[in-house]
């Protein structure tokens, strides 16, 4: 069972209360971008066995979207944070690095 703490209402919500929203921190391709950029934005997704940054929605609760750092293999949760962020916050990164010292996110790698 997956338990994620909603950063908005503080509830430790279990997965039946949540709706998964795919990869987090996608940057939208816009007018003037190349076809490749659009393809990347629309279709190219991380599919990791390991640490993954994801969007979740507290669907049955407060209804807000939030982001979570989670290990897809072990279901270990490294932290959840509000959706109004463009990169994982320092405390979440620290939690991940405590377990995977070499971890780097594609945007910062």
């Amino acid at each position: 069972m997956l338990l994620l703490q909603c950063p908005y209402c503080g509830v430790n919500a279990e997965e039946t209360e949540l709706a998964a929203g795919g990869e987090a921190h996608l940057k939208r391709a816009t007018v003037g971008d190349s076809d490749e950029a659009f393809e990347g934005y629309l279709f190219m997704r991380e599919n990791k066995k390991g640490v993954h940054l994801e969007r979740w929605r507290h669907a049955y609760g407060c209804g807000k979207w939030f982001l979570a750092a989670r290990d897809t293999a072990t279901l270990e949760v490294f932290g959840t944070y509000p959706a109004q962020t463009t990169e994982p916050p320092a405390d979440v990164t620290e939690n991940i690095r405590a377990k995977y010292p070499d971890w780097s996110w594609k945007e910062t790698a």
């Binding site: 209402c9 503080g10 209360e17 049955y60 609760g61 407060c62 209804g63």
Partner: protein, 187 residues
């Protein structure tokens, strides 16, 4: 004018845990910026209650203001006062970014009370109802069985449950059946 009727018209299942549909009850969804002084002032002025803290509610016995999300409140008040309240709220908030919706006839509200009311709800929701965790004055939005619902705990230990009107029969049946089945001894 048409005759307003609540979802289950006050249907009641009595027993050690009594489940009762509360009949016509005024419910108003309020959305806005809680940090905004105008919004907070309007809520306080028209309900006589402060905006509740996260997952809490405020009540004076007649009106109740419930925290539903970081930008949403549910005001529960007598059915006859709803239209006046909505009009007054619209006047008070005019010009700001807000939403006031009368959802009285789109929701059903239940009372669940009795010695093991906590267990009855606990059977149907992924929520920790342990007395030290779910204290009186707290509100939780989650689900009952398969449908969305919100519940809050009153000082006397009984609960109020709110769900969509269209699933009122399901929620009533589920809770009433769970009550008949007896306690499980978890809480």
């Amino acid at each position: 004018m048409s005759n307003a009727v609540s979802a289950l018209n006050g249907k009641t299942a009595t027993g050690p845990v009594t489940v009762q549909e509360l009949g016509l009850t005024g419910m108003v969804t309020l959305r806005g910026d809680f940090e905004d002084e105008g919004f907070a002032a309007a809520v306080t002025q028209l309900t006589g209650l402060q905006i509740p803290d996260v997952r809490q509610f405020q009540t004076d016995g007649v009106k109740t203001v419930l925290w539903m999300s970081p930008d949403e409140l549910l005001v529960v008040l007598p059915y006859t006062e709803v239209n006046a309240f909505v009009t007054a709220m619209n006047d008070a908030l005019a010009g700001s970014h807000y939403l006031v919706a009368n959802v009285s006839d789109a929701r059903a509200i239940f009372s669940v009370s009795g010695e093991f009311a906590t267990e009855v709800l606990g059977k149907n929701a992924p929520v920790d109802f342990e007395a030290s965790q779910f204290v009186a004055g707290m509100v939780r939005r989650s689900r009952v069985g398969q449908v969305a619902a919100a519940y809050w705990k009153l000082d006397d230990g009984s609960f109020r449950v709110v769900c969509f009107r269209s699933v009122a029969e399901y929620v009533f049946g589920l809770i009433a059946t769970s009550a008949t089945a007896g306690p499980v001894g978890v809480y």
